[in-house]
Symmetry: D2
Subunit: 350 residues, 4 copies
């Protein structure tokens, strides 16, 4: 469909947040896609550089009101709107447009569960039925054909990538999965909240949403696609005083016949051809800084001090593989482009 001659035209709904800005950074590296319009209702009329000075010199279109853009003048729309608003906006988009939604609005297939977790009824039930969950490495075929992709959450992406191959291969006990996850602060977005102030976060560490974070049900749903019975994971998120990055430390129980070496082999095998998921040598120590700014996910397997158990480590950049990077990867699949287009940049360190 796409060629180097004909540019892919992209629209971004809600370009005033961090995921929108990150999409623009990545699109700048994309050989054939280009942002055609950007909406941000409260900042309409402003240049992107007034909100994001780091993007000031890229020749991007100014921000516009949604009502003012020629919505269908693009091939694909990225939706970076807040949870809740998204369903209403997406259901009004022309049916011809491909849509990649970065909010949580289409991630939970069970709309009753959605209502419970997000505290309000789903407002686009018929669209939900056709939405494809966008964990690229495991739903790639469906993503390629999808009209609407629900891009996964950052925690969920980081936790699911090491777990899915092990559950598929029946190497670990699906009833005993503990995910202790730690995230940088950009996951909280750009909203001005006291709890996100520099002074409230720097030089400190804490857990939040213990047993109640909304990514818990999302992880359950996705992992359950690869197990016989529904899974309920233990999931605890924490906030790290850094901008970007997620590390998930995952405690698993081996199935009776499984070994730690077997886990390593199954993961290596599963991701042998995946351009962004790298299974490190046994007992490696991946760090979030090793993937900063990139679409990579690094995975390591460790034996536990307790026999029959193992520890998985997984890191991503929450704004890239955990959000805008995976969204672009999904776009590439949906449009038949090279999966890595726009995503080949090396991580930034230090």
């Amino acid at each position: 469909m796409a060629s180097t001659m004909s540019e892919i035209k992209v629209g971004i709904l809600g370009a005033s947040g961090y995921t929108g800005a990150e999409l623009l950074r990545l699109l700048n590296d994309h050989p054939t896609a280009e942002a055609r319009w950007l909406t941000a209702d409260r900042n309409a009329g402003q240049p992107v550089g007034s909100l994001f000075p780091h993007l000031a010199h890229l020749g991007l279109p100014d921000l516009q009101r949604l009502d003012d853009v020629a919505v269908d003048d693009v091939d694909v729309v990225f939706c970076c709107l807040p949870h809740g608003l998204t369903q209403k906006v997406v259901r009004e988009l022309p049916e011809t447009l491909r849509v990649i939604d970065l909010s949580a609005d289409f991630r939970l297939r069970d709309t009753a569960l959605y209502a419970e977790v997000y505290g309000k009824p789903h407002e686009a039930v018929e669209l939900q039925e056709r939405a494809v969950y966008g964990l690229t490495e495991h739903y790639g075929e469906a993503i390629g054909k999808a009209r609407l992709v629900a891009n996964p959450g950052c925690y969920t992406t980081t936790a699911q990538l090491p777990l899915i191959p092990l559950l598929k291969a029946r190497l670990i006990d699906p009833t005993r999965i503990i995910i202790d996850a730690k995230s940088g602060v950009s996951g909280a977005g750009r909203a001005a909240r006291e709890s996100s102030l520099f002074t409230e976060i720097s030089e400190g560490f804490h857990a939040y949403g213990v047993a109640t974070h909304r990514h818990g049900p999302e992880i359950d749903q996705c992992l359950s696609d690869f197990t016989e019975r529904p899974v309920t994971v233990t999931f605890t998120p924490h906030l790290v005083p850094m901008n970007r990055g997620i590390l998930a430390t995952i405690y698993v129980r081996l199935q009776p016949d499984a070994t730690v070496d077997g886990l390593q082999a199954a993961l290596a095998d599963a991701y042998r051809d995946a351009p962004f998921v790298h299974v490190l040598p046994p007992r490696s120590l991946p760090a979030t800084r090793h993937v900063r700014g990139s679409n990579n996910c690094l995975i390591a397997v460790h034996p536990s001090r307790v026999a029959g158990e193992a520890i998985l480590l997984s890191v991503t950049d929450n704004l890239v593989k955990g959000a805008s990077g995976q969204a672009l990867q999904n776009m590439n699949l949906m449009l038949g482009l090279d999966e890595t287009a726009g995503l080949r940049g090396a991580p930034l360190f230090p």
Copy 2:
């Protein structure tokens, strides 16, 4: 024994590291104790302020070589020397001196286990037999009579305080304890290592010592004091880009008849009169920044998403309750002083 008239005289072996400096900061607040001599062989002859400018204006004695100090001109010695060297030095100290050792050299009662974990034979076996483990809240009586106290590790203190009362009350399964711990960087000390550089740590997060960290056996030993059979915990430390603080997220399995409320009640009961351990209301979210610079430990209990399980959160300042503060608390007990002397300062935030 002590009165406001008669000063307690203190000596510090190895005052050039962070735990030594922190002792000096806390002693500055102590109403009756005073540093009489400070050793630092490589920096002998220098004023403390040349190593630690923040302590320059406190009127402290200059650093000296160990051979040059009148060792027995003090009531109590804090030993802040590196692991390994400590045993040799402490065994040469006059028997009349009370000693609080902040290294790991006397923490493991089983000297064979010491040799295995630390990779060399124990060099003061007879002293080891008389050493008392210095987790103040649970070994206080023995500490009061001890000549040699082995001050616990920072991770171990943080993890043991919430676990011990629950194990004593048989509310949790001792075979299923997972400790996911996160520490600030000062725990690595002041040695110049590439892995401790600002550029290698800032804006990143990683696990280390997975299943192999030396605090694992120490936690096992201590918890086993309160259980019928020896315990082996799962323990994973991580490094947080902050100077101070430890948070332990602890996953436990309830005993058949136990409840999350029961855990809360048992902890509240255990620490009702403890001046430094505060059990927060159910589902609280303690942060390391809430205890920064203080000797406090904050504990919270959460239900898990998985029935029959619970999550414990515990925070300390690794240099205070996790090291020098607990050492001072132990000194207070050993000398019959008010347990909180020198330790009443409120945390520093932001």
Copy 3:
């Protein structure tokens, strides 16, 4: 007036911000003063610990509405209200109360200048006439007798302490003073603003308020007290990704007969008996971390590469000597207490 027997009773107006919290931390160390009431209109009825968990265990009174407190049941009031509101509140306080105002509302003696700088007319002109500027080391005598003290700004304190003795001694040219100042983020307060988010500040550095910051006129006013003709300084503030601390790098031109050694000597002489201002040896490199949490100001003098010029370095903790600590120091003077009461704590490092 005060004795160890009779407690000094303290009220705090606007205790929900960082300067209020810092006052409470410092008062916890004060031997004879105690917080009697705390106001915070929006958070009335809540315990202090709900806003500031680090202060939860100090036995403090709950927050109240201003209308609900027995205002005159205290000896002294600290006013930590926002700029603008302060004038209205302070002018209603009983005349018998001593007041230390931490806002900018009474710092500028010239109310016309106030109106120009703060964009609205002064609302307590008669009070302004009696307000004493609270730079303790240089206005101490007047502070001791004052009813209303205008506590200086954080930048102004840090810049003025090294400059005043040099201007008094006519060693530097008052027409050529350049103050390049760098502050931690707590100076911006606890208000939820996008520009104060962790993600907007961490891993970055920028100047702000170039030539327009409100502390410029305040510095001019104070320095002019010590010169023959009014002074206009160059003043540029910058934001450092850290919680606390200010460093001022000050470029001065020597008077024809002055020398860099003379500057050093004049400063050492001026602060010989000052308990908190320490003039370091020539060419020292004071760091904000050397004063963190303390009321200290460290000053160093350097020759410049350019003949006839010198560079002064000055550091404080903006929340202590730059705000609440100096306020407490002023209270001590106003009430005839030891100037250092509540302020003897050593800095916290690392």
Copy 4:
């Protein structure tokens, strides 16, 4: 010379430091250049990923000993060796090789001054005579023809870019230039020093090398190229607790007939066609985070509070425009490639 068909082959001497790693990150984005060999004597035989895990998956050659590489199998050599060693190594390289040196070894034209500043005699005087100073925007023509380019220091680049056009246009007084500069920590390199530890830098700020930093003479030399008489600047570097970025705040005195608007116009004019130097609208506030990871330099002009003076702000990423990025930009010029090749990536924020 170069075409998309024929790859440019690159060698890197001393690839184990941050500037080497940054070159590899940027080369990964370069359309026609490719690293052919990498030396790192102490780490010879190791894959790049063992030193820099973020570069592990780029298919780079392993590190080798200098003696083991086919030095002349490349078109251009980047030298990232330590100061001092560089002169000896570079003078042994085949005359046919183009060399871009990132150390300070060839920056000072006056070898007597070099000896004074660096404390040892220059060891490649004849090469020095032919070295071209690599501030791309102002020495571009000579760089294009050079065999050996001395890549400028990070502070010097950041300070010189705003100053040179103003000196050329005689708009500012060359005898009154004060450069107050602030740098992230990566400028100190990867050597394990106590002063570079996370705990020694985080949550603090300090000046260093006041009036003695080696970039002072380098700035003098370069600016003097554009003035009638030799210049001596005041230059004070500071360390910011962040990984990357430099901000220079520069205080200048206008020439009698000059205006602040005139400065703005002269700078805008000078850099109208420069792809990486962006002169912002008057009174803008550039931040280091706006250029992180990019080769951009942002410049802003402000009036001062003092008549006849102005303040310039300039920001770069010290590892990109201040080191490896400018080196690559110079390579592009030397080889007749598009100046922006490999350098079009947008900054990474947050």
